[in-house]
């Protein structure tokens, strides 16, 4: 037991590494705040493009999205970071990360948003357009809010995944949390920083993971309530007053 404490929860080591770990955590959160909006917004635009396109354009969009879903982000990052300068392009660590994540996570977000948008009944589009609303207004005010509600668990789940993905940045030298933990481990010959880092990730992301489970449970309850409602309809008598 003592061995466990000395190796995994060494107070002395932790005190020494604390500042490095917290600045690493800050970097992680900063990266997440950078890439999530980028990936999300790009993904939304891609999804909207998929929805309005037909024929060959749609297939091309799907091909693009599937390509970046299949291509491991770590490889993409290394490619961009080391490869781009060889072609004469400036590519700092942050640029490489921004590009990698935009390309990779926008594809996942695009699929999620697309599923949500397409799950909204066509009648909603028709009602909005028939009343004279432009496509974009119908999309933003009527269809998208309903679509997002349906896929909210997937969106939050993807946000968690993307935050975890920031640990890849350590490969290109960004001192995010994992990098800081590994560095501290190297200098102190003790793995307590690793354990501390794992716990930090846990503390930050656990609420979101819980949220995903709660949202999914709520959607399940809503849809089974709808199914029960539909089954009972013929028997129900609704009291109604006429004007």
């Amino acid at each position: 037991m003592n061995e466990l404490a000395a190796n995994f929860f060494n107070v002395e080591v932790l005190r020494v590494s604390l500042s490095a770990l917290t600045s690493g955590l800050g970097q992680t959160l900063l990266l997440a705040l950078l890439v999530i909006p980028l990936g999300g917004a790009t993904g939304l635009i891609l999804a909207a493009a998929c929805v309005v396109s037909g024929g060959i354009t749609r297939y091309l969009l799907f091909a693009w999205i599937d390509f970046f879903r299949a291509f491991p982000p770590l490889v993409l990052l290394i490619y961009l970071f080391y490869g781009a300068p060889m072609l004469g392009y400036e590519m700092g660590a942050y640029s490489a990360i921004a590009w990698t994540f935009t390309l990779n996570t926008s594809s996942y977000f695009a699929e999620i948003f697309r599923a949500g948008i397409e799950s909204v009944p066509k009648g909603q589009w028709e009602a909005a357009r028939a009343s004279g609303m432009s496509w974009i207004k119908s999309f933003l005010v009527i269809v998208l809010p309903q679509g997002v509600r349906t896929v909210l668990p997937d969106i939050v789940s993807n946000v968690v995944t993307v935050t975890q993905l920031t640990s890849l940045a350590s490969v290109v030298g960004v001192h995010e949390l994992l990098h800081a933990a590994q560095a501290s481990q190297g200098t102190t010959y003790n793995v307590s920083p690793l354990i501390a880092a794992a716990l930090m990730y846990l503390v930050i992301l656990w609420p979101f993971v819980r949220l995903v489970s709660r949202l999914e449970a709520r959607l399940r309850n809503q849809s089974s309530a709808r199914a029960r409602h539909r089954q009972q309809r013929p028997r129900r008598q609704v009291q109604e007053t006429t004007a």
């Binding site: 599937d66 390509f67 491991p72 994992l178 794992a198």
Partner: protein, 223 residues
């Protein structure tokens, strides 16, 4: 342009390293299959146990699923490989990757399958129980298969996503594709091995992604 080809598509380098990369590919595929098998088995088992258990066990499984979904897979691999030796458990990179990724996959699979079990219409339980089937039998014979069909698409998607994490094994010295490519890269001072790795990954994962898109088309999620 010429420089680009020289750096990234150099055929001489290609021939020099293709064998190691092929071995890396084999290892990656082996690791992926192993992870999928153990991850799915464990996840399904946990979901079924959770459905059949009282509060304490349910809470324990929920905590497990939350922890292994929240902590980044890379972090989990690093902890298993670097930290466990300090308490006497020394595992190779490959075994660490297998155990770590299996645990992560099982956590997601448990949540997906359990959600599926909950989504099966109550009427199914009523029908089976009223014809004399016990709880366990009903769960296994009637409810679980339906849950599996309903969750085929998200299950496949999540499995593919986790399997892509085998590339993370390169960080803990697993001689999978990326690792081999990176050492070939430094040996030859040329980025062609990286291109080879990218192509191999695409060849490996593109069919899986297309397959999952087909699955979503075939079994659309009805929310």
């Amino acid at each position: 342009m010429d420089r680009l080809v020289q750096q990234f598509f150099n055929s001489a380098i290609w021939w020099r390293h293709w064998e190691e990369l092929a071995r890396g590919l084999g290892l990656t595929i082996g690791l992926a299959i192993a992870v999928v098998l153990t991850g799915l088995a464990l996840g399904i088992a946990l979901a079924l146990i959770r459905a059949a258990s009282g509060r304490p066990i349910q809470w324990a499984i929920i905590v497990f699923a939350d922890v292994f979904r929240a902590i980044p897979p890379l972090m989990i691999l690093v902890v298993i490989y670097f930290a466990l030796p300090f308490v006497g458990v020394r595992l190779s990179g490959l075994v660490s990757a297998w155990i770590g990724l299996s645990l992560v996959l099982s956590a997601f699979v448990e949540e997906i399958i359990y959600g599926g079990l909950q989504s099966v219409d109550d009427g199914q339980w009523d029908a089976a129980r009223s014809t004399g089937f016990g709880f366990g039998a009903t769960l296994l014979i009637f409810i679980f298969p339906q849950a599996l069909r309903m969750t085929a698409a998200p299950l496949t998607n999540r499995t593919i996503a986790i399997v892509k994490n085998t590339a993370l094994g390169s960080v803990i010295a697993v001689p999978e594709i990326l690792n081999v490519a990176m050492s070939a890269l430094s040996v030859s001072a040329n980025s062609t091995p990286l291109t080879m790795a990218a192509i191999l990954y695409l060849v490996l994962f593109a069919p899986l992604v297309i397959c999952s898109r087909w699955l979503e088309h075939r079994f659309p999620q009805r929310r």
